[in-house]
Symmetry: C2
């Protein structure tokens, strides 16, 4: 057999014939725009980030809104930098910043067309705000959505309810929110005593919700908010943070929302506290309870900040958990 040498497999700086560069973000191949994706220009030539699967008779579509990069500095309040860097390296993540994506989930639940969380609405980094384009690429018309289910009131979950010029992105949708989350973020006393860095989110809540406060429906935890979809309290990340159990035909999936951020860090080390968690001890307690049950029952989960397609299973591993991404199905 040939000699499989390092030089052959891993050669670097070897003679590579000079090749003309193509412009950054240029589309590969010669396909016309009509065959390309609607988001390929905005995403620098990337194809749509969409994925579809079934849970019983329900058809679920993960449609990514985009991503940000969170510098590690000051990100985790109770971890040694070296330990964080070691985990980042173990998962082949960049050494200095964590890529965090935002993936809302569309659920065709019988005749109900439900979107869980709405992404940033283009209010964050230039690398997000692609939800509408990605839904369209998946054949989901925003006008067809009858229900918006909101897990909590952080900007990457409610920002996409309206466009940046204040028009509703899902004009026919009724908006369902956790009553505990509503109570917290609309309380003037809470806004008053909030840390400076959190006041912006209060302002966004007012911008999104004040003019529609009579239309928004507030739900209690442990209630079936849409046939087949049950809201479950999972507080800590925010006071009213909610996860959803989606069940059809004996199959189920748990929409974890922000029970944890990126699983490479916070499933591996559930004891680590990200700055996004408003009550980090309660968030950790919630995380362990939910993950223990998900692991023991081997239930499929969707994590809003998990790497796209944001879908898989949790298993116990060492003192934490291992996230096993789903085996992508090429046919539905």
């Amino acid at each position: 057999m040939t000699e499989l040498t390092r030089r052959l497999i891993l050669a670097s700086g070897a003679a590579v014939a000079a090749a003309p560069l193509i412009p950054p973000g240029a589309r590969a191949g010669g396909g016309g725009s009509e065959s390309g994706s609607p988001t390929s220009e905005a995403t620098g030539g990337q194809v749509p980030s969409i994925y579809r699967y079934k849970v019983g008779d329900f058809v679920l579509t993960a449609a990514c809104d985009g991503m940000g990069r969170r510098p590690l500095e000051g990100f985790i309040s109770n971890a040694d930098k070296a330990d964080v860097e070691a985990v980042m390296k173990e998962f082949f993540l960049p050494p200095d910043a964590l890529p965090i994506s935002y993936t809302p989930l569309h659920v065709q639940a019988g005749d109900r067309s439900v979107l869980i969380d709405t992404g940033t609405g283009g209010r964050s980094a230039g690398t997000s705000g692609f939800l509408l384009d990605n839904l369209k690429a998946a054949g989901v018309d925003p006008e067809s959505i009858d229900t918006l289910l909101i897990s909590h009131f952080h900007g990457d979950h409610i920002g996409g309810i309206d466009s940046t010029d204040g028009k509703p992105n899902f004009p026919k949708a009724k908006i369902l929110v956790p009553e505990k989350e509503w109570a917290f973020w609309t309380d003037p006393a809470e806004m008053e005593r909030a840390a400076e860095g959190r006041k912006g989110n209060f302002a966004l809540v007012h911008k999104i919700f004040d003019h529609r406060k009579d239309e928004v429906e507030r739900f209690a935890w442990d209630s079936e908010v849409v046939p087949g979809i049950t809201a479950i309290g999972a507080p800590g990340h925010t006071p009213g943070h909610t996860i959803f159990r989606i069940e059809s035909g004996g199959s189920k999936l748990v929409f974890l929302a922000d029970t944890t951020n990126h699983p490479a860090l916070f499933a591996t080390r559930p004891d680590w506290h990200a700055v996004f968690d408003m009550d980090p001890d309660m968030a950790e307690e919630t995380r362990r309870k939910v993950f223990d049950m998900a692991a023991e029952e081997r239930v499929r989960v969707h994590g809003f900040h998990f790497p796209f397609p944001a879908n898989g299973h949790l298993a116990k591993k060492d003192k934490g958990y291992r996230f096993q991404p789903i085996n992508w199905e090429v046919v539905l």
Copy 2:
């Protein structure tokens, strides 16, 4: 906080209001066909399985051809059934059959438009044959492809060179094949002595290549077949099985072809021999050499049968390896 009970998170058989079913494979939402993917009908409503990333200045597009399901019975010649089932369970794979996908890779290498391997061409299960649709969905016009690079002559790699009615799928492409692979599969003596189950593949080789034998270019191992792409011998799976090192601007990726089948089984247990490997001992030796180097150098890899997007890194783990899928990038 709410009581996170098993009943809440994992309830099954709880009262789920009767919801009208939608037909299997029906498209979610109300999007018209023009906004859907060209493959969504064929794939039962699934969206395109495409993913794009850069290696230096090259733009790479993974475009899936589809998948098959291989029953475990008789699949691995030297493993205990219970051990295989345990690994399948660890990776949340179905207990009885392994989902195996086929993902060719398009490389826009400067002004060269290269497709590595061609999928089944619709000659296999009804759940494959989607490569052309997926390339189009990614904006890659089959007519723009100037080079087909073939890793080896199994049907899921050469089947897509022609349509099932014998027309070239990539009419302007020059076809480059490993000379050792050509020598083996076109040798009448080899066909003569081949096991019955292998004769079909000899017939396919003749069907695909006989009428174009003067146009096909045969390359030697260790040669740069396209500027930036080097062919490396990795025999065992087939006598002329070839992997490719793709290198641009100091970055690189190794196209592993079939150095291993599904990594859940054969990275975890590199000593297991799949029936697809023609010389299983040599295939194992090759696998360990390639994986050792890939793990040590932390080089990015594309595995033809790895779960879509077929991309990530290998790390040593226990007596084998761990495959860490890439963190999906929403923007290019």
